[in-house]
Amino acid sequence: MNQMTEEGYVTEDGRTIGGKLMEMKHISLRFGGVKAITDISFDIREGEIRAIIGPNGAGKSSMLNVVSGFYVPQEGEVWFRGEKRPQMRPYEVARQGIARTFQNIALFEGMSVLDNVMTGRLTHMQTGIAAQALWKGKAEREEVENREFVEKIIDFLEIQAIRKTPVANLPYGMKKRVELARALAAEPKLLLLDEPMAGMNVEEKEDMSRFVLDVNDEFGTTIALIEHDMGVVMDLSDRVVVMDYGKKIGDGTPDEVRNNQDVIDAYLGVSHD
C-alpha cells in the first residue's frame, strides 16, 4: 500500500481509494454482562473492500450489526459520510445508503427472484400504498424505472434464467447470489456482506469472489465483508480488521495482517508453557 492519507491511498493493484466513508470510534457493545465488543476503532474508506475477520465468537457479526444500525453500542460513535450518526432504526440506516446480506439467507422464500430483488428498491419508491395499488401515473412510471434498474442487476449477476423462479426452489449458492442482487438493487454506498461464501463449494466461491470484485469495480461500491475463508479474504480485500474476543488485534493490508504475531497466535493458538 502506498502512503495512507486523510484523502485516501492507492492500492497494490492501482485502484485509488478515497477518504473515510465510515468511521467507528471506540465502540463497545455489551449484552448484559457479556462484552461482545471492547473499544474498537477503525474506518472504511470510499471505494475499498474491507474485511473483518476473526475466530468464532470474536464479535464480527456484532460489529457488522453495529455498522448496519441493528445494534446500538453502549459506548463509542459511528460516523458516516462525515457526520456523527444519531441513533437510528435499521430502515433509516438503509435509506442512508447501507445495504447488507445475511449469514443465514433472509429472502422471501415464496416469492420469485424478481420480486425479491424488487423489494431492494423499496427505499427508492416514493409513491404510497394507495397509488401503488391503483398503479397509475407516477406509481407506474416508478415501477418501470425500478424494474429497469433491477434488470440491470439481474444481467450483472447473470441470474436471468431464474428470474421467475420461486426462491424456495433455488440451490443455496444461487440464493446467496439473489441476496446480493437484492442488496445491490438498493444502490448502496456501503454494502455489508455477512459471510458471503459460507457453505459454498469452490466453484461457487470463485463466482461469488468475481461478483464482489465486479460490483466494487463497476459501481464503485464500498464493501465491508465478514468471511471465514482466509484465502478469499486475503485475495479480495484491500484492508483487513482482525478481531479476537471482542478486541481488535490487527488492522492493515492482507500482507501486514498475515505477518502480525497476535493474529497468528489468535488463529493457530499459543502454547502456554
Partner: protein, 657 residues
C-alpha cells in the same frame, strides 16, 4: 415464394443479400435478442445500418481485404453483424467455439493469422490476452460487454460501440472505400472459414465461398418452403456450420428473423417465448427435453399420469401417420384431436414447439423412441445428414418419408456414390473450396472431379433411395473372426437408453466386443432420488450395484437387438464397465461438439481395456482430470466389471470385405 424464383443475379454475397433485405423487408424484424428481460429487435434496415457502421469502423481500424477476423462468443446479433461487416470490408470471418480453452484458441488464431478478434466479454478477452504472445499477427481486439474491462490496457482493446461510433463519424471518408470493397465480392469470394472440431488431429479450416453458402441456402430453403416469416432461435455454437447456414445463409436468403437467447441458461424459456417455426437441434437436446418431460410426469398425480400415458400411447399409434397424411380412421382422428386439445397441444407449448413447421436433427443418430415421441405429437421432425465440407446438406428427409433409421435422400443439387469399401462420397455446389493452408488434406478429401469423401460408411436402400449410415468408415473394422465391427452402431443403440449418456465399444481385431459406459447423471440421479439411494458424486452413483444391474439389462437388450442383424451380430457386448468419470472435452476425450475421440479414450484407459479382456472382476485405476479453469487433478476408483449375456451366433463373413 418470391425470393427463390429470383435469379441470383447481383445477389452473390451475404452483404448483397443484406442490401436486398433492407430494401425489400426494411421494416420486418431481422434480429431479436432478449436483454434486460425484454425482447429487443432490429429491422433489416436497422441491421444494415449497424453493420455499415461496424464495417466503416473496421476500415478505420485498419482491416484490409483478405484479413481474417476471428469472432468468439455466444449467439448475439452483434456477433452476427460482425461476421457480415467483416465480409463487407473484404475480410474473412472465422467464428470460434466460445467454450474452447485458451490453448485451443491459440492454435486456430495462429493458424489463420487473425489480425483482429471480436469477442463477447471479459472471459474471452482474458483468454486471448493469455495467448497473445504466441500470436504474431494479432493486432486489435474488439469486445461487446465492457463489464470488468474498464481497467484493462486499451492500447489494442476497443469497445464494440466505440468502433461503430468511430465508423459512423468517419462515414464520409470511408463510405466510398466500403462500397468499392463490397462491389468486388462475388460468388467465388470467400464467405466464411469454419474450423472443424476434428475427432482426430488438429482442427482444419474449411473455406466456404459465397457460392457454397448461398447455393446451399437457396436449395434447402426451396426444399422446405422456407419464407421470410420463419422464426428461428439461434442457440447452437456460432462456429458450427449449421448455425452459419441457418442464422446467416438461409436467414439472409429468405429474409427471416434470427432470435438470440438472453444467455446460455435461458434457452428453454426463450424457446417457449419465441415459438420458432423452423428449428434445429442435435439429438441430445431432444433427448434432454424428453427426459425432463418424463421426469416431471413421474412426479405428477395419478390421474394426470394416466391421461398422459393413455393419450401418448394413442399418439404413438396414429400420430406419425396423421403427420405424413396417411389414411387414419375417423374415430382415431377424433381421439387424436381430443388428445391434441388436452395433452399434445399444451405439451408442445411447454416445449416451445407449438409453431414448429420444420424441425431437423442431425449430427448423431437419434433414438427411435425419441424421434417417434416428437413426431407423434405432430411435430414435423426430420433428419438430415451433413458436414462442414458440404456446407451442411448431403441428404435430407422429404416430408412424408421420415424414418428414424435413415438420413434421407440426396439434398437438391447433391450427387451420391458409395465406394467399393462402403464409404459415402458426394458432389454438390456446396462442396468446400479447400482446407486453409493444408493442400494435402484437401487432396485427400476432395478428388479432382469434386467428389468428397465423408469418412462415413453407409449404403443406399434399393427400394427407397434413402441413405443409411452405419458408422465412421475408419472406425468400421473387423473382428478377429472376420465379421464386421461397427462400434458406433452398437454405441448408438446403447445411448438410446435415457440412463446411458455415452458408450464406447472396443473390439477391432479382437474376438469379442467390450464397452465403457457413462451414465446420464440427471436421469439416473432422479431415479436414485425416487428410490432413496443416497449418492454424493457421479463416481459414487456410477459404482452403485443397482445402477450396474440396470445398465447390464440395457446391454443385454442391445445384444439381442444387435444379434438380429446378421451382418453385425458379432458386435454384441460381452463385458462392460461404468467409467468413474464423465468423458469430457476439457480432458480431450471428446470434441467440443461432444463426439467421442475413440483413439484418445483407448490410450488413456488402456488399463481398463486390458482388464475387460483379461477377465478380471474389478480394476483399480487413477485418472487425470482437467477442471474448467485449466487446473489439473486426479481421481481414482475401483471399478467393477460385469459380464453381459450374449445371443449365440455363427460368425459371418462380410460380403463387402
Amino acid at each position: 415464394m418470391a425470393q427463390s424464383s429470383q435469379a441470383t443475379d447481383g445477389l452473390s454475397s451475404i452483404p448483397a443479400l443484406l442490401k436486398r433485405n433492407a430494401a425489400e423487408f426494411g421494416h420486418k424484424a431481422a434480429y431479436r435478442e432478449k436483454e434486460f428481460g425484454i425482447w429487443q429487435s432490429w429491422t433489416w434496415k436497422q441491421a444494415a445500418e449497424e453493420i455499415d457502421n461496424l464495417a466503416l469502423g473496421l476500415i478505420n481500424l485498419g482491416v484490409e481485404e483478405g484479413d481474417f477476423v476471428a469472432i468468439i462468443g455466444r449467439n448475439r446479433p452483434y456477433l452476427y453483424w460482425s461476421m457480415v461487416a467483416a465480409q463487407s470490408v473484404g475480410a474473412i470471418p472465422v467464428p470460434l467455439y466460445q467454450d474452447a480453452a485458451a490453448e485451443e484458441m491459440a492454435y486456430v488464431l495462429d493458424h489463420c493469422g487473425a489480425r483482429f478478434v471480436i469477442v463477447e466479454d471479459q472471459e474471452q478477452v482474458d483468454k486471448v490476452i493469455e495467448v497473445q504472445d504466441q500470436l504474431h499477427q494479432f493486432e486489435h481486439m474488439i469486445y461487446l460487454d465492457p463489464k470488468g474491462l474498464r481497467k484493462y490496457d486499451h492500447a489494442r482493446l476497443h469497445e464494440f460501440a466505440h468502433i461503430q461510433e468511430q465508423g459512423h463519424a468517419a462515414r464520409d471518408e470511408f463510405t466510398p472505400e466500403l462500397e468499392k470493397r463490397r462491389a468486388k465480392l462475388d460468388y467465388s469470394s470467400v464467405c466464411v472459414m469454419l474450423y472443424t472440431s476434428g475427432t482426430t488431429g488438429k482442427p482444419k479450416g474449411v473455406v466456404l465461398s459465397n457460392r457454397n453458402v448461398i447455393e446451399s441456402a437457396k436449395n434447402s430453403a426451396a426444399f422446405d418452403n422456407l419464407g421470410p416469416n420463419e422464426e428461428v432461435l439461434a442457440y447452437l455454437p456460432m462456429a458450427w456450420v449449421g448455425d452459419f447456414i441457418f442464422s446467416i445463409g438461409q436467414s439472409y436468403w429468405c429474409g427471416f428473423c434470427v432470435n438470440c437467447p438472453e444467455n446460455a441458461d435461458t434457452m428453454m424459456i426463450d424457446l417457449r417465448e419465441i415459438g420458432p417455426t423452423y428449428y434445429f437441434a442435435p439429438p441430445r437436446v431432444f433427448e434432454t427435453q424428453l427426459t425432463n418431460v418424463m421426469i416431471r410426469m413421474e412426479d405428477a398425480g395419478r390421474l394426470k399420469k394416466w391421461l398422459f400415458d393413455t393419450f401418448m400411447a394413442h399418439a404413438r399409434k396414429v400420430g406419425p401417420a396423421i403427420l405424413d397424411g396417411k389414411p387414419v380412421g375417423a374415430w382415431d382422428r377424433i381421439k387424436y384431436a381430443l388428445g391434441d386439445l388436452f395433452i399434445y397441444g399444451p405439451l408442445k407449448n411447454t416445449l416451445g414447439f407449438s409453431r414448429v413447421r420444420v424441425g431437423y436433427t442431425a449430427g448423431e443418430a437419434i433414438g427411435p423412441e425419441i424421434f417417434d415421441f416428437y413426431r407423434s405429437l405432430g411435430i414435423n421432425l426430420k433428419q438430415l445428414y451433413g458436414q462442414t465440407e458440404a456446407t451442411v446438406f448431403i441428404t435430407v428427409q422429404p416430408d412424408g418419408e421420415v424414418r428414424s433409421d435413415t438420413v434421407g435422400v440426396p439434398a437438391p443439387g447433391v450427387e451420391l456414390k458409395i465406394s467399393d469399401d462402403g464409404e459415402v462420397f458426394y458432389r454438390s455446389p456446396g462442396v468446400f473450396e479447400n482446407y486453409y493452408k493444408n493442400p494435402e488434406s484437401t487432396a485427400d478429401t476432395k478428388d479432382p472431379d469434386g467428389w468428397v469423401a465423408t469418412g462415413d460408411a453407409g449404403f443406399i436402400e434399393e427400394d427407397t433411395g434413402h441413405l443409411r449410415i452405419i458408422d465412421r468408415a475408419k472406425d468400421v473394422g473387423k473382428m478377429s473372426d472376420g465379421s464386421l465391427f461397427a462400434p458406433k452402431y452398437v454405441e448408438n443403440k446403447l445411448k438410446f437408453y435415457p440412463n446411458i449418456l455415452e458408450a464406447v465399444v472396443f473390439g477391432n481385431e479382437r474376438e469379442k466386443c467390450m464397452a465403457f459406459i457413462n451414465i446420464d447423471l440427471s436421469a439416473v440421479g432422479n431415479w436414485a432420488e425416487r428410490n432413496n439411494i443416497a449418492y454424493s458424486s457421479y463416481q459414487e452413483l456410477a459404482g452403485h450395484p443397482k445402477v450396474l444391474q440396470t445398465v447390464q439389462e440395457h446391454v443385454e437388450e442391445v445384444n439381442k437387438s444387435v444379434a438380429e442383424d446378421p451382418m453385425l451380430s458379432g458386435c454384441q457386448v460381452h463385458r462392460f464397465l461404468i467409467l468413474h468419470k464423465e468423458l469430457d472435452a476439457d480432458d480431450g476425450e471428446m470434441t467440443r461438439t461432444r463426439k467421442v475421440r475413440r483413439r484418445i479414450v483407448e490410450d488413456k484407459y488402456s488399463d481398463l481395456i486390458t482388464a475387460l479382456y483379461d477377465g478380471s472382476k474389478e480394476i483399480f485405476t487413477k485418472t487425470e482430470v482437467t477442471y474448467e479453469d485449466g487446473r489439473k487433478g486426479s481421481i481414482s476408483a475401483t471399478l467393477e466389471i460385469r459380464d453381459a449375456a450374449v445371443v449365440p451366433v455363427t460368425p459371418q463373413k462380410v460380403a463387402a470385405e
